[in-house]
Amino acid sequence: MRTRLRHCLMASATLGTVLWLAPALAAGQTWTPSRTPDGQPDIQGIWEGGPASNNAGHSLEDGCCDAEHNKMQRRAADNIGLRQQIIVDPPNGKIPFQPWAAAKRTEHLINLDAPTELQHIEPEDRCSLQGVPRSNLRGPIQILQIPGHVVMLFEWVHAYRVIPVDGRPHSPKGAAMWQGDSRGRWEGNTLVVEASNFRVDPVGYNKQPWIDSHGTFYSDALRVVERWTFVDAKTIAYEATIEDPKVFTHPWKIAYLIVRRAERHFELIEEACWEGVSVSNRLESGRITAKAGRQRPHSHSEP
């Protein structure tokens, strides 16, 4: 809730500064950041997805939410949908699911709307690690740098990513992870990170990260290539190319700006999510919906 509030505040504060990515990227060639002791561009500090990414963690295609949900969550009534198309490739902004995967996703959307079993509870509501790129779409991100590493700390569910930039090999297959296994390299002011070796739930339950709450799942073939282009001291042009030949027809790409948090002395605080979560009400209501035969794919428009 607190995180969402921060989103809203930041959105209203910086709405006027939304930039299209192309000029931002061009500007990135000219900024000269200071260097860390091991020669990396020094990009440490607190960052957060800019207003264009607001709500995209819920659905990369549709954003979030409906008026009823906003009222319940005490969100601003007009905080609905996406401010900017997040999926930049394909141009229609839709995730290119293979037919079988689109059907599976619809199944996930039905279960999201009216969960009747524990495994229908979507990963975010299990307070699980969000994976890549979803971790970057919710709440503040602190970047620390030590020799050979970029470390990202996330306030949401106290997640973290340790990204070696010293050329070491990827972790072996078999040691799969919710956050995947990340290796980075610097190309000028751009941190390029390749993440793979993502954990998948072998029995098809939802106990693996999804790319968004709208059931965007993946297989063990997922590979994400992120480009964090540090445009200036306050702006990151972020891009992630998502490929999984078992689930999608072709690679697709999201892009948005991540901006530096302006507050002085900002500290991440403990977001203990799992310790307080309970889903009994949601299951009960889901079972009532199912019993009444009113199950439908989750959507933000009225039935």
Binding site: P37, Q44, L118, I121, R126, C127, S128, L129, Q142, L144, Q145, I146, P147, H149, V151, L153, V157, H158, A159, Y160, V162, P164, R168, P169, S171, A175, M177, W178, Q179, D181, R199, K207, H265, E267, L268, I269, E270, A272, W274, E275, V277, S278, V279, S280, L283
Partner: protein, 250 residues
């Protein structure tokens, strides 16, 4: 003070009988001259089961304990609560619910953790339940009451020792699987003293006037994980909890 610490390290850890100056020289340092604690570390002991000396039981290795004096100075009612916790540990131990483990328990869960040290902040990334602590240096605790699972950590350097003051806990975490416990008044002071490149002496002072009659201490060595290409993996405890939170009976 530093000399006393160094002397006790050498005795306790049974490392080479190095002179204090030699020890200081063997420590990796950051550009600002502080010892560099960055890296992946692990405690190798049985404190996860019981911080006190204990004999083996099924699935439980015997251990010498990590508590100085081998005794925890419980108040009588708190000692009774520990016995009750122990008797019902299969149900009551917060570890069985995959909750954040608290401090210092996170240190000796038996899984590695990574220290990321910068001049202003030392973050500790635990493999267990991706628990995370940010130790802010040279700053003050926020005003309470606040009840964090992992407490609020503020650090200072005393010579080569990183001293971390931790307050603002809740009363939900335990010290081990044996039901050793505390209240929300817990105050932990951790001391991380590098002995050489690959060893840290970890000392903890525990204070909680509601539960203990006096402060008491634990200590143990932390070992650098030297495995080739070592990295922190994940223990997503909550994902393995088949009885996923469904109701108030949790």
């Amino acid at each position: 003070m530093l000399k006393i610490t160094v002397a006790s390290i050498v005795g306790a850890v049974s490392l080479l009988a190095l002179a204090p100056e030699a020890i200081a020289q063997n420590v990796q340092r950051t550009p600002d001259g502080k010892p560099d604690l960055s890296g992946i570390w692990q405690a190798v002991n049985t404190a996860a089961w019981n911080i006190l000396p204990h004999a083996a039981d099924e699935g439980v290795p015997a251990g010498l304990g990590v508590v100085e004096g081998n005794e925890i100075p419980y108040r009588p009612e708190a000692a009774a609560k520990q016995r009750e916790n122990y008797a019902n540990r299969a149900k009551l131990d917060p570890e069985t619910k995959c909750w954040l483990p608290g401090v210092p328990r996170a240190t000796y869960m038996g899984l590695p953790f990574q220290i990321v040290q910068t001049p202003t902040q030392v973050s500790i990334l635990y493999e267990y339940a991706h628990a995370l602590r940010n130790v802010f240096l040279n700053s003050t605790h926020p005003r309470g009451p606040i009840e964090f699972w992992m407490g609020d950590s503020r650090g200072t350097w005393e010579g080569d020792t990183l001293v971390v003051d931790v307050v603002h806990f809740n009363d939900q975490t335990w010290f081990d699987r044996a039901g050793n416990h505390h209240s929300e008044q817990l105050h932990v002071v951790e001391r991380y003293t590098p002995v050489d490149r690959n060893h840290i002496t970890y000392e903890v002072t525990i204070e909680d006037p509601k539960v203990f009659t006096r402060p008491w201490k634990m200590s143990m060595p932390l070992y650098r994980r030297l495995d080739r290409n070592m990295q922190i993996l994940e223990y997503e405890c909550s994902a393995f909890d088949e009885a996923f939170r469904t109701g108030p009976e949790r």
